[in-house]
Symmetry: C2
Subunit: 347 residues, 2 copies
Amino acid sequence: MQMDERKRKILRAIVQDYIATAEPVGSRTIARKFDLGVSPATIRNEMADLEELGFIEQPYTSAGRIPSDAGYRYFVDCLMDAQTLSDEDKEIIERESTKKICEIQEVVSHTSRLLSELTSLTSLVLGPQKGKSAFGKMHFLPYRPGQVIMVIVKENGVVENHIVDVGETITAEDLQKVADVFNQKMKGYSLNQVKRSILHEIYSELSRQRHLIDNALEMLDAILDGSEEDEPIYLGGTLNMLNQPEFRDLDKVKSLFKVFEENEPLKKLLLPRQEGLNVTIGGENTLKEFRDCSVISATYKVNGKTIGAVGVLGPTRMDYGKVIAIVDFMTKSLTEVLARGKPRGYK
Amino acid sequence: MQMDERKRKILRAIVQDYIATAEPVGSRTIARKFDLGVSPATIRNEMADLEELGFIEQPYTSAGRIPSDAGYRYFVDCLMDAQTLSDEDKEIIERESTKKICEIQEVVSHTSRLLSELTSLTSLVLGPQKGKSAFGKMHFLPYRPGQVIMVIVKENGVVENHIVDVGETITAEDLQKVADVFNQKMKGYSLNQVKRSILHEIYSELSRQRHLIDNALEMLDAILDGSEEDEPIYLGGTLNMLNQPEFRDLDKVKSLFKVFEENEPLKKLLLPRQEGLNVTIGGENTLKEFRDCSVISATYKVNGKTIGAVGVLGPTRMDYGKVIAIVDFMTKSLTEVLARGKPRGYK
DNA sequence: TGTTAGCACTCTCCTCTGATGAGTGCTAAC
DNA sequence: GTTAGCACTCATCAGAGGAGAGTGCTAACA
């Protein structure tokens, strides 16, 4: 059996109506609401075919039909009109994006809030990956007796400061010397790249400051390596999920929100199989908590390099056209903001 | 009508049983479970009195009784045995508190997690108030052409760094001079203390670096004043609320979680009317979302000075004895950790 | 006078029932 | 190939009735 034009029209009608009403769609409803020029009986026949093809299913005998995951997939890939953003939404995004923003975190949280507000769904934002954060420069500043401030400038421009214990006896010259050696030997390297060779050099050149160096290295370890791994995902509008009829069930809500508290599953959800825009529908998500959900995600770039991703999570019964348009526009706007504003936090 | 010993015993029995079962308590249940030496009929008579006194109420005719807010209040004030922590819990807290922790944020999030895990309720933690964060010291470090790193050490020991735009033409000596003037004039002052007098002096001494100073002041504004106001409250175990039978209702959950997203109401909830341990029961909370909730909160100290608070939020039907013991022990442990570890972030 | 047993009464909760209505699949006619 | 007609299925809802828990009242008892 093949899809023909009428089957396509009927499938589209079913998906659209179900997205709008969250109720199983019957043949009469389609005949009434969508002008296909055929009777309910004919539509019933076609619907039987569509069910056999796996695009729709019946919750129970003699209920209407609802789209299956495959049905949504066919809809997204073949039936959907490319929708454009409403001027209103466009304006909101643009107005927001012209605000002056200096911290990268603010950009991320803004984006997250905006996405969830526009879609009335849950947003996921993965902040700019900082890239392998190599050592850039080290400074020491006086703090308290026996302690100094160690300021580390990473190669990607991020600046961090940490308090380091040093003996009371250390002199400003000693500190300067330590910084000089580090700056000379470690520039451009991440810590695990240098573990063996360079470390030996540093140790031998600065044998007297062994205590300080150990402390400094411990800090560097945390600063340079830790930062990449647990890049948090920003969630926005999680409460919107509670408005969706598919989450009337408290147990479902509980298990969903439990997953929201972890980072790994969300990352998996968001990180695309390929560059650009991705649509993951229902069971295509591996996690069972997301079996009734779809994710529209997209990556964004700076200097042509992909450095992060945004996404929207909602029930499979979501308005794909609208959400895709919003996510698409948003990533472009974001790319632009980042290129223009150069907030701190990435190279 | 007066409370006598038997009424007290019965009220205690009702509260304890209702806390344990979440079901209205009948006279027969009390006679069976608690050995009062009287028949259900007698207990019924007493219960009628207790109802008249306002300590218990009936959800509907011929259901058992449940404690009213006043009943809980009487229970907490007069009937509760001072409970001590189980050795198990004590050990958990102490094990946790011996971990080496260097960032104040970690202490706060640890505390929050621990509280919610031990009580199976929701925890609220207000991190150490940083106190009026006065200016301590300013340093400049080279960054990129036209930009420098401004490192601000506040008087309370917190170190922050920010990138500041300077002209390309500025020299290291100029920067040093700016820093010197700031360090000399502003030490110990918060920004709004100096707005008029000192600012004029700084401007006149450094008229050439007007642009840099404006940028620096803008930063200082954000660093020194902003930090106090919106001190966030850490929430832990919000999902535990979903396990409480009083939150079976999705609408209740929704409005509760909505409040969780705001800071102000939570702060009101947590900040005590007086030093030490506070118990706020049901309607004693002003916000209607918390009418079915109680809060056990307590302040903690460093160097004898109250600098923060922790609390536990649960349904009015919570195990007051246990929770009070946990909160009490926790604040003491926290006070100790902070006194010992001296993590960064407060004076 | 306080306590208790007995009893009628109330109200929730659960289950069963039948009616309703939406929607289907099949068949036969167009 | 399309359509009208019709029997059938199943969820949903309201109402009825029984079970069970618990009460308040009364009268008897110590």
